[in-house]
């Protein structure tokens, strides 16, 4: 670790170092994988419940059905599918795909496609959340509590991933991952 990063108390490797890990030269911040995994597992649980309800009966959702809160109205609307794929299934697939990317090993990985892919996927998830939020509030005129839970988890996952990606930055000055420098 170079003197500058050591003085700053940071954990990232300098050029020529192997990167954060158990090599005694740096430590992976603990919070990104923990926060990521907690949020991802929460997302899987809620999305799995929505998927189950989709393929059984939407009325099985334990959710009020009057006024603005109406899960059934949302989950049976024409906005509940995107390109023919149920949104619940899309959500479940998203979180299942995110699971390996949030493992400590994946956070330790310095390979750019993993880091950019994880960040890009959560950003895409937030984009979909914006569309679904718009559809709920302005097109369907109803809000599904479980969908909202998934939306919140997705936004939080983006936030933790974005901040985690920065705090585990492993790139050398010339932009080459430290492992490959």
């Amino acid at each position: 670790m170079n003197a500058e990063t050591a003085a700053a108390g940071r954990t990232n490797p300098g050029p020529g170092e192997k990167g954060p890990g158990g090599d005694g030269r740096g430590h992976l911040p603990v919070w990104p994988p923990i926060a990521g995994l907690v949020l991802t597992v929460t997302g899987i649980a809620v999305a799995a419940y929505l998927t189950y309800a989709h393929y059984t009966s939407a009325s099985s959702l334990a959710c009020p059905d009057s006024g603005l809160i109406n899960c059934e109205k949302v989950t049976t609307s024409s906005y509940s599918h995107i390109f023919g794929v149920p949104v619940a299934v899309l959500g479940l697939s998203f979180f299942l795909g995110m699971l390996p990317l949030q493992l400590p090993g994946a956070w330790r990985c310095t390979w750019a496609p993993v880091r950019i892919g994880r960040l890009g996927a959560t950003a895409a998830g937030v984009g979909l959340v914006f569309w679904l939020l718009y559809a709920e509030l302005f097109r369907i005129d109803a809000v599904c509590l479980y969908c909202t839970a998934v939306h919140v988890v997705t936004v939080l996952l983006f936030i933790t991933t974005a901040l985690g990606t920065v705090s585990t930055g492993v790139y050398a000055e010339d932009g080459v991952p430290a492992d490959h420098a």
Binding site: R10, P15, G67, V74, S78, F130, A142, V155
Partner: protein, 302 residues
């Protein structure tokens, strides 16, 4: 200063650096990345706040102008009516009016013949016609964003549930569809026809082309125009959208009430005109156009 340059190169040189200036470092790069990340987070949270804020400020739409999402089940029931079932209905259900042949330049959009609809969400006859239009157009392309609306309770025919074409999109390889919903149920201005469309309306939405003029007004590619609804939709009053959808499907046997048979017959009549415009081409191996090989019309409905 223990620069990274000396760590990397070990030659003591500091290329591209002037004396006393901070060299580009991981710290600076990291700081910039942190600002970008925090900025992205702030933007996301602000966007969510704006969307929710607009909704809160506008209030919940619970009045006459409420457009509701349609369940997939109901939509599937409406679009489950087959061209053959429409043909069967059109054989023995006489319609009260038919499109009128006009001499006018072909009306096209992106090289496809265009169906122009001018109506309004308050209008009960537009509501009745929209059922048939949606069913007919579904044989040539795909709708997305269709919602339901109920016509005004303050008319002779009151509270007819139907689709609204407002903010719905339609894509088809064969025809273009241009809907104009001029007003909401409560009478607020909604959409405005283009100048060319207003000119068409002024020219053809009056005798001798039509009985009195008014809406709904349809222009089939500049070849036929129609004013008003083709059947009596009074039986649709005060029903729910889902009930009518269910009656259209009739448990897979097709329309099960006189009113829904009339909707199917009207859809067939519209299909026959669209097929004349598309040269007999429609989705599903031209199934709709094979069921309606000739235009169903009268010489004049005046």
């Amino acid at each position: 200063m223990p620069s990274q340059v000396s760590e990397r190169g070990g030659d003591g040189k500091q290329p591209d650096q002037r004396q006393g200036e901070q060299p580009p470092s991981n710290a600076r790069q990291r700081r910039q990345q942190r600002y970008v990340a925090i900025g992205a987070v702030v933007v996301v949270l602000a966007a969510v706040a704006v969307i929710v804020g607009i909704k809160v400020a506008s209030g919940t739409n619970t009045g006459l102008d409420t457009r509701s999402a349609i369940s997939r089940a109901a939509l599937d029931e409406v679009f489950a009516v087959t061209p053959d079932q429409m043909k069967a209905a059109s054989v023995y259900i006489p319609l009260s009016s038919y499109p009128f042949r006009i001499t006018s330049p072909a009306m096209t959009s992106a090289g496809k013949p265009e169906l122009l609809y001018i109506g309004a969400e308050y209008c009960p006859y537009c509501a009745g016609e929209r059922w048939a239009m949606a069913m007919a157009l579904n044989q040539f392309g795909t709708f997305s964003g269709l919602r339901s609306i109920t016509s005004t309770p303050n008319d002779t025919v009151a509270s007819v549930p139907s689709f609204t074409f407002y903010h719905a999109t339609y894509s088809s390889p064969y025809v273009a569809f241009r809907p104009v919903e001029q007003q909401t149920v409560s009478g607020k201005a909604l959409e405005t026809p283009s100048r060319a469309e207003e000119a068409t309306l002024r020219q053809f939405d009056r005798p001798p082309y039509v009985k009195t003029g008014g809406i709904p007004f349809l222009d089939f590619g500049g070849k036929w125009i129609q004013d008003g609804i083709n059947y009596d939709d009074a039986a649709l009053q005060h029903q729910s959208f889902d009930t009518i959808a269910s009656q259209l499907a009739g448990d897979g046997h097709g329309p099960s009430t006189p009113a829904t048979e009339s909707i199917a017959a009207t859809a067939g009549m519209i299909i026959s005109h669209l097929c004349a415009l598309t040269g007999g081409r429609s989705l599903h191996d031209n199934a709709a156009c094979q069921a309606f090989p000739t235009v169903i019309s009268k010489a004049s409905n005046v």
